[in-house]
């Protein structure tokens, strides 16, 4: 179980996050929504151990990450704002590289498996710089999953994806849920995720204004979503 409690993040006297707490259980998908500047990306970076909170605890499977983050990192799969990809290397080489870093056995099979999951078979040996934004995003997602992490953290995964790719993504998320992964998705597009979503966290100017299991009040969740959508 992934737990964060009372997370605060200050950056040169700006309070970016204020007293955020959440729990992620295996097989659960949490959606984090909020306006621009609400602190969603920062929250995801903290969850991904890419940033340290100013105060609060981040505890993953009972390991305190502030003390031993290195034990936890192999269990996280992260899709951040930037893709972590190497433009001059091919799709295959990128996955191979990260696979080697994660020391995956049977790397070749694993790569082929992921490539077919995200639908990039045709461009397997093309360099990344010629791929479209959507294809790079799909590759980035594959990269995030290459080591079969227990927790999957995605920052705006739908960016740049066309309709077909979005479907692929949702199938993927559904499968990950079934496999018992804990998933957090930061997004602006809540609508498509309603079916898959278990918990909803709403951030506003760094504050946690709503955090509930969707099943508890599905109407309330829909309401919140509508109000956010209307404001846009």
């Amino acid at each position: 179980m992934y737990q964060i409690s009372n997370i605060t993040k200050n950056v040169s006297s700006k309070k970016i996050l204020n007293n955020i707490s959440m729990q992620i259980y295996p097989g659960e998908l949490t959606v984090v929504v909020g306006e621009n500047g609400a602190g969603k990306s920062t929250l995801l970076k903290i969850l991904a151990l890419l940033e340290k909170p100013s105060s609060g605890n981040v505890i993953v499977d009972e390991i305190n990450t502030l003390k031993s983050s290195n034990k936890v990192k192999p269990h996280l799969g992260v899709l951040a704002h930037k893709s972590f990809l190497y433009e001059n290397l091919t799709v295959y080489e990128n996955l191979e590289f990260y696979g080697q870093l994660y020391r995956i056995n049977n790397l070749k099979e694993r790569i082929y498996e992921l490539i077919s999951d995200v639908g990039l078979e045709l461009v397997l040996h093309e360099p990344v710089y010629i791929l479209s934004r959507g294809m790079q995003q799909r590759l980035a997602i594959a990269r995030a999953l290459i080591h079969d992490p227990s927790y999957v953290l995605l920052d705006e995964p739908q960016t740049g994806l066309d309709q077909d790719a979005v479907e692929i993504l949702y199938n993927l998320l559904g499968n990950l849920k079934e496999e018992g992964k804990g998933i957090v998705v930061v997004t602006h597009h809540f609508d498509n995720l309603i079916e898959l979503c278990d918990k909803l966290l709403v951030l506003k100017k760094g504050q946690q204004v709503y955090y509930e299991h969707v099943s508890i009040s599905p109407t309330k969740a829909k309401e919140i979503y509508m109000s956010l959508a209307a404001r846009r």
């Binding site: 950056v11 040169s12 006297s13 700006k14």
Partner: protein, 226 residues
């Protein structure tokens, strides 16, 4: 530091400077060989002492910053670097003039002057690095790292140049200066005067950095609430 202590230090500094100047220009007789130009020696050595001391302070503050991440230490590093850079420039200028008077050359590659030159470059690099980074946190961390690495280098520079000059010693150095008791007293007082000046200036420059930081933060708050 209380304002009262600041004033007291300021007055002591001023008095010491006046006393040192008196000793330099009126009390101590000019050195036989070089004449009155030799007196620049007192400024040169005193400035060198402070220049190196200031860098040592940069080194200590940098370590303290990396240990605590308290921005106060970053201010001390930056302030000391600024002051040190100025003093180092004085060292090079006075050293050059003195060299011209003593050995007839505007520049010599003797160990002390060369090490001072390198330290001057390291100071410049430190200040340039700071001015190139806008994120305060990153700027403080990177400067601290450079402060530590730079300081470790100085003794290595000193030894390497010394070995270098023993191989090619002839070029310009010859003859040493005879130092009388009066000269040592004057020199000590000059060193004290400059050190006090440094101690007086340092907290003031630190205060400037502190105020600058406050202004930045206020700006941020205003912009955020626009």
């Amino acid at each position: 530091m209380g304002k009262k202590w600041g004033y007291i230090l300021g007055i002591i500094t001023l008095l010491t400077i006046i006393a040192a100047n008196y000793l330099i220009f009126i009390w101590v007789p000019a050195e036989k060989v070089m004449g009155i130009v030799q007196k620049i020696f007192y400024f040169h050595v005193a400035a060198a002492w402070v220049g190196f001391l200031a860098f040592f302070i940069v080194f200590i503050s940098s370590i303290k910053y990396l240990l605590t991440f308290n921005e106060k230490w970053d201010w001390y590093s930056a302030a000391s670097a600024e002051i040190g850079f100025v003093f180092m420039s004085i060292v090079l200028a006075t050293g050059s003039i003195w060299g011209r008077a003593f050995w007839g050359h505007w520049w010599t590659w003797d160990p002390r002057l060369t090490t001072s030159l390198i330290l001057w470059f390291i100071y410049a690099a430190y200040l340039l690095l700071r001015s190139g980074i806008t994120l305060e946190g990153r700027r403080a961390r990177y400067s601290a790292v450079l402060g530590i690495i730079g300081f470790i280098d100085v003794p290595i520079v000193w030894f390497s140049v010394r070995w270098w000059r023993t191989v090619h010693p002839n070029l310009m150095e010859s003859g040493k200066m005879a130092i009388t008791t009066k000269m040592s007293i004057t020199l000590s007082l000059s060193v004290m005067a400059f050190t006090l000046l440094y101690a007086f200036l340092l907290p003031r420059v630190v205060k400037l950095y502190q105020l600058d930081c406050t202004i930045q933060k206020t700006k941020d708050v205003i912009i955020r609430n626009l």
